[in-house]
């Protein structure tokens, strides 16, 4: 049943007990994201090491189980990753949300893959894709220090 796919144990767990939900110490980059239609908000904080590696990452925000779980999983996966790898993970993740394709990246560990795959149920719920992708779009804005605020309007 699709609802079970959407609200998998992992998601519910991350939704209820989000990891890294705080302002991380010594962050040097951050960005805000907002979905004005449902009110989901996220604020991503990054501590990056000379633009090479994400040393620490955290988030604050409010939203549905999917958006909170997605942000929480994001922080777990991205922490410690090189920028280039982080971007590849992002691309793969968005692709999965869009067309349900599997991860190409072999460099991820099995449990990392499992937690990311837990969000794949979203693809059957088109209106919820934005919930799952908001934190990720916001993360890349923070990393690349884009000035605009992430805003997942209608589009």
């Amino acid at each position: 049943m699709d609802l079970k796919e959407l609200y998998q144990e992992i998601i519910l767990d991350h939704g209820k007990n989000p990891r890294n939900k705080k302002i991380c110490n010594g962050f040097n980059k951050d960005a805000k994201g907002h979905n004005p239609l449902c009110g989901d908000k996220v604020h991503i904080y990054l501590k990056t090491d000379q633009n090479k590696k994400v040393e620490d990452i955290s988030f604050e925000g409010e939203g549905c189980a999917i958006s909170i779980a997605s942000a929480s999983i994001l922080t777990e996966i991205i922490k410690g990753k090189e920028h280039t790898l982080a971007k590849k993970i992002l691309e793969d993740f968005l692709k999965m949300l869009k067309d349900g394709s599997k991860f190409q990246l072999n460099s991820l560990e099995e449990n990392e893959k499992i937690s990311m795959m837990s969000l794949s149920g979203v693809k059957k719920f088109p209106m919820r894709v934005k919930c799952a992708s908001l934190a990720w779009h916001t993360f890349i804005h923070a990393l690349e220090e884009k000035k605009t605020k992430v805003n997942t309007e209608k589009a």
Partner: protein
């Protein structure tokens, strides 16, 4: 009242949603349309279509007649005094923009005050916000009480000799609370302050009588009262509409156009720039006929029964928290469930064919006050029954199962 037979006039209820019958509880967002409205539109396009008012050929004559007849039908429906008080717009949003612009340009100055309420939909705030920026005017928000009601005393408290407009909703699209229009308008009239009523949620549920209500402006969105998309009605007292400058400029609203000067037509024509939504206007006459045939009193009655049933039912569910507790209430219930975000509720309910809305319902001011970014909302139309509420209730119970709480 035979709801089954009323419901059968709405083709969409033949549809299954995720294998279940559609339980449509999103009428405050937009109502479904009866067959007669849909057919009137097709019939018009197939047999009578022409632009109105501009040609003398037979089709144009028919179209113009149907169009203007609808104006009369609406005048009667809301008991306006003159047919010229009925202006067709794109929707409630455009109607409010029109008044905020047109009235604002002519009558507002720096420091003048507009009174709104914390219940207002963005459509009844953003246009006044523009005016605030343009004219350095001031917006004062009437505060809701602990039941999320607006009381006349709060409005009284805010009125000053700088108050140039009071704009408030007839029925809140979040709490369903009915504003005490009579008291507020009497007070405003006594101080010669014009009042705009956002009747978007009022018109589909309450019998209207403009001459009794006594407001200066009343706005309606046709798509929320069983009518077509893309059409709104602006009622304005003739004395105002005569005074106000036009809003959009274009064809059909002019008197004489020269290279240096332009003069404008009379009301309502001066406010109806460009080609109008002829088919939609004509079809609207069927929506009104539909409502009149049942009778708004009976619609209110029926909806109130279903509403009260829903309130009782949801109150019994400990995890559900109802938003607001207004004494006079119609057609809308908003709620939250502890530990489950409204968005997730809406998704889970949808699996059972139950359509509700989750979000801030274009009322961020109120939601900020409530301290929640979003709520879930079930809203009623004439086609809803107690059985719909039963399905809603058990779908809500399912939410906790899905979330293991």
């Amino acid at each position: 009242m035979d709801i089954k037979s009323i419901k059968s006039q709405f083709p969409i209820f033949k549809k299954k949603i995720n294998g279940n019958p559609l339980v449509y509880l999103d009428s405050a967002n937009s109502s479904q349309k009866p067959k007669a409205v849909i057919n009137r539109m097709s019939h018009f396009y197939e047999n009578e279509f022409s632009n109105v008012g501009r040609s003398v050929h037979t089709l144009a004559v028919t179209a113009t007649n149907r169009f203007e007849e609808t104006r009369d039908i609406i005048k009667d429906f809301i008991n306006a005094k003159y047919r010229e008080e009925i202006v067709f717009t794109k929707g409630a949003t455009e109607s409010i923009n029109l008044i905020a612009n047109s009235y604002g340009d002519k009558f507002m100055n720096e420091g003048d005050e507009i009174i709104l309420t914390e219940l207002e939909h963005h459509s009844n705030y953003v246009p006044w916000h523009y005016l605030r920026s343009k004219k350095k005017a001031v917006i004062k928000f009437a505060k809701v009480n602990e039941n999320l009601e607006i009381k006349v005393d709060e409005i009284k408290r805010l009125i000053s000799n700088k108050t140039k407009m009071i704009a408030l909703t007839h029925i809140s699209n979040v709490t369903g609370g009915i504003s005490p229009l009579k008291e507020i308008i009497d007070l405003a009239n006594s101080k010669k302050i014009p009042v705009l009523i956002d009747g978007t949620q009022g018109a589909p549920h309450l019998k209207l009588d403009m001459q009794k209500i006594g407001c200066d402006f009343y706005v309606i969105s046709c798509h929320k009262m069983y009518g077509p998309n893309g059409l709104g009605i602006l009622y304005g007292k003739k004395k105002w509409l005569d005074l106000l400058p036009p809003y959009q400029g274009g064809g059909g609203m002019i008197d004489e156009v020269k290279k240096n000067t332009i003069s404008f037509a009379e009301t309502p024509t001066k406010f109806e720039a460009g080609t109008m939504q002829t088919a939609e206007v004509v079809a609207m006459s069927e929506a009104i006929k539909f409502v009149k045939t049942i009778g708004l009193d009976r619609i209110s009655d029926h909806e109130n029964k279903v509403l009260n049933y829903a309130i009782e039912k949801l109150k019994k569910n400990n995890s559900v928290k109802l938003i607001g507790n207004p004494e006079n209430k119609a057609s809308v219930i908003s709620f939250t469930i502890k530990g489950i975000h409204p968005h997730d509720i809406a998704t889970i309910l949808d699996e059972d064919g139950v359509a509700i809305r989750a979000g801030h319902h274009c009322c961020q001011i109120l939601h900020e006050k409530l301290g929640v970014p979003a709520t879930a909302r079930a809203s009623l139309g004439v086609y809803n029954t107690k059985e719909d509420i039963d399905v809603l209730d058990s779908a809500i119970k399912k939410c906790r199962k899905v979330f293991n709480i």
